[in-house]
């Protein structure tokens, strides 16, 4: 059971300062538009917070490209909107990056091969709900998410969209329920190695090796990357580095993102 509200609250309140600026090659005026600063929640997705950013920059963009979809990149890497912002940050910059996070705004030359189009918030919603269902299948097999009412789905989405902790968790706690001794069937997680978002490591992992013997983060990393030394690796979850002996079940319950996945970002030291 995800009962440690103190931790959950801290996780929920994680925000990142972001500095948006228009790509230099897309400047139309002589005057450079002022950069746009924004505090973005770690748990949300970029399309949900960048409306103001688009409004700010669109008048400076090329008139013919103003109808095009806005996309973001950091240091030449296009940012995939389908991952939570915190995951993108942890994977691309690591824990000790300099803040604020400088992101370039672009309208021209949409990288069709790397990014998915996101014409509206409905697309984000359907992606989010599908993630929740995928995680639910891994955790329960009993399809808790599919048994839920449409109203509850909507409440989950609204809670995330409007940054409402209580609204979200009053429903999400149902998804975190499990047998006290066995935990989840499997832990839903995605392990991002460095900035390689294309291939997150995913293999079925049970939270308990034997009854009363919980698997830890160290076990998981060893299971996924048996060849690498634990000491040469750094695992970042929600912007922190949990110790290797942290139980997986607890991590999954408390440090998962709203899509119910535990996103691990691996960095080699």
């Amino acid at each position: 059971m995800a009962s440690d509200r103190e931790v959950l609250r801290q996780v929920w309140e994680g925000k990142l300062p972001v500095c948006f600026s228009l790509a230099e090659e897309e400047l139309q005026d002589l005057q450079t538009p002022d950069p746009f600063y924004l505090m973005v929640p770690r748990l949300t997705y970029f399309p949900l917070v960048t409306d103001k950013v688009k409004r700010h920059f669109i008048k400076h963009a090329h008139p013919e490209k103003q109808e095009a979809e806005m996309w973001l990149d950091y240091n030449g890497t296009p940012l995939k909107w389908q991952y939570p912002i915190g995951v993108l940050f942890d994977s691309l910059l690591g824990a000790d990056a300099t803040l604020p996070w400088n992101i370039t705004v672009r309208f021209d030359r949409f990288p069709e091969k790397e990014l998915l189009k996101c014409p509206s918030r409905d697309v984000v919603e359907s992606h989010f709900m599908s993630c929740i269902k995928e995680a639910d299948v891994l955790k329960h097999r009993t399809h808790v998410a599919t048994a839920m009412q449409k109203k509850e789905h909507y409440q989950l989405w609204q809670g995330l969209q409007n940054d409402k902790f209580d609204q979200f968790w009053s429903i999400n706690k149902k998804l975190m329920e499990c047998n006290r001794n066995e935990g989840f069937k499997h832990i839903p997680y995605r392990c991002h190695k460095g900035d390689q978002f294309s291939l997150p490591l995913q293999r079925l992992v049970k939270p308990f090796e034997e009854p009363d013997c919980q698997k830890t983060l160290g076990d998981l990393i060893h299971f996924l990357l048996p060849s690498d030394d634990e000491k040469s690796l750094k695992v970042i979850i929600q912007g922190v580095e949990p110790s290797w002996d942290t139980p997986l079940q607890w991590l999954s319950e408390h440090l998962s993102h709203p899509d119910n996945f535990l996103h691990l970002s691996l960095h080699s030291i």
Binding site: S3, D4, E6, V7, Q10, V11, E13, G14, K15, L16, P17, D34, F36, Y37, L38, M39, A95, L99, P100, R180, Q238, G239, V240, E241, P242, S243, D245, T246, W250, L255
Partner: protein
């Protein structure tokens, strides 16, 4: 489990790290960025305000320049100029009042003229109406004229036919008149003949009558002579027939002196005097002759005069 977790060092570690993370990434920037955003918004607002003000400024400057152009030569002989200008102004004002007065008069005249115009228009409308009526009447009359013409031609035609008829009838009449004249002539001839015949007849009749009368007279004379010879034998005092003698002596004392005492029958036979009356010896006819030169034969049984002829 929670209790155990709460005690466990990895949880403390994570919580600490989360706190540190939020302190570093969140709290330290929160204020800064919200402050930045506020400043950003106010800067935008100020920029738009500035733009408006600069536009306003530009307008005011332009106005100022115009005013400057107008107000440049206000110095030196300003007082004189002002005075002359005031005088001019005064004059202009007077002119203006005159003009206004004129305008008022004109307006009145305009009103009057408008009124008259209206009247004229009304009159014109009346005239138009009259004209229209006249036109209608004219049209009507034209129609009538046409009708009349048609009738006239008809009448002419009928007149012609009548004339023809008349002519034909006249011809017929002439012919008939000729015939009549001939017939009259014929008639005259015939009448003449008839007259002659009648005269002859009359003569004959007269002759016969004369003859008869002569014969009678002769007989009477004879009888009288006879009677005269027998006078001795017959005497009224003889008494051969006493009864008879008395009666005859009472009634007719004398045959020769028997005169009518009263009128038995009376009728108008002739104009003027009746000269002769005579019984027909054979028939029940009386002949009368009068001063009107006519001889009339009367049928006593019928009372009416039957025939007459005169010598006209």
């Amino acid at each position: 489990m929670n209790v155990r977790h709460a005690e466990s060092p990895w949880r403390e570690n994570i919580l600490l790290q989360l706190n540190a993370r939020n302190k570093l990434q969140n709290h330290s920037f929160q204020e800064l960025i919200s402050c930045h955003n506020r400043i950003f918004e106010s800067a935008t607002a100020l920029r738009s305000e500035n733009l408006q003000l600069s536009i306003r400024n530009e307008q005011l400057r332009q106005e100022g320049a115009e005013l400057m152009l107008k107000g440049v030569p206000v110095d030196g002989k300003a007082a004189d100029r002002i005075q002359t200008l005031e005088q001019k102004l005064h004059k202009k004002q007077e002119e203006l009042t005159d003009l206004l007065r004129g305008k008022a008069e004109n307006a009145q005249a305009l009103v009057e003229l408008n009124r008259r115009l209206n009247e004229k228009e009304k009159l014109l409308a009346l005239r138009d109406q009259g004209l229209m009526e006249a036109g209608e009447r004219e049209l009507h009359l034209k129609e009538k004229l046409l009708d009349t013409d048609a009738r006239c031609t008809e009448l002419q035609a009928s007149n012609d036919t009548l004339k023809d008829e008349h002519y034909a009838l006249h011809l017929a009449f002439e012919a008939l008149q000729d015939k009549l004249r001939k017939a009259q002539e014929e008639n005259a001839v015939l009448v003449e003949k008839l007259m002659k015949i009648k005269a002859k007849d009359a003569e004959k009749l007269n002759e016969e009558n004369d003859n008869f009368v002569r014969k009678k007279q002769a007989r009477v004379a004879q009888e009288l002579e006879d009677a005269a010879k027998d006078t001795g034998s017959i005497s009224p005092d003889r008494g051969s027939f006493p009864g008879v003698e008395r009666d005859i002596g009472a009634v007719m004392p004398s045959i020769g002196t028997c005169l009518p005492q009263r009128v038995v029958l009376r009728f108008d036979a002739h104009d003027g005097e009746v000269n002769a009356v005579r019984w027909s010896p054979v028939d029940r006819i009386v002949a009368t002759g009068g001063q009107d030169r006519k001889v009339k034969l009367w049928d006593i049984s019928k009372v009416f005069w039957d025939h007459f002829f005169g010598t006209k």
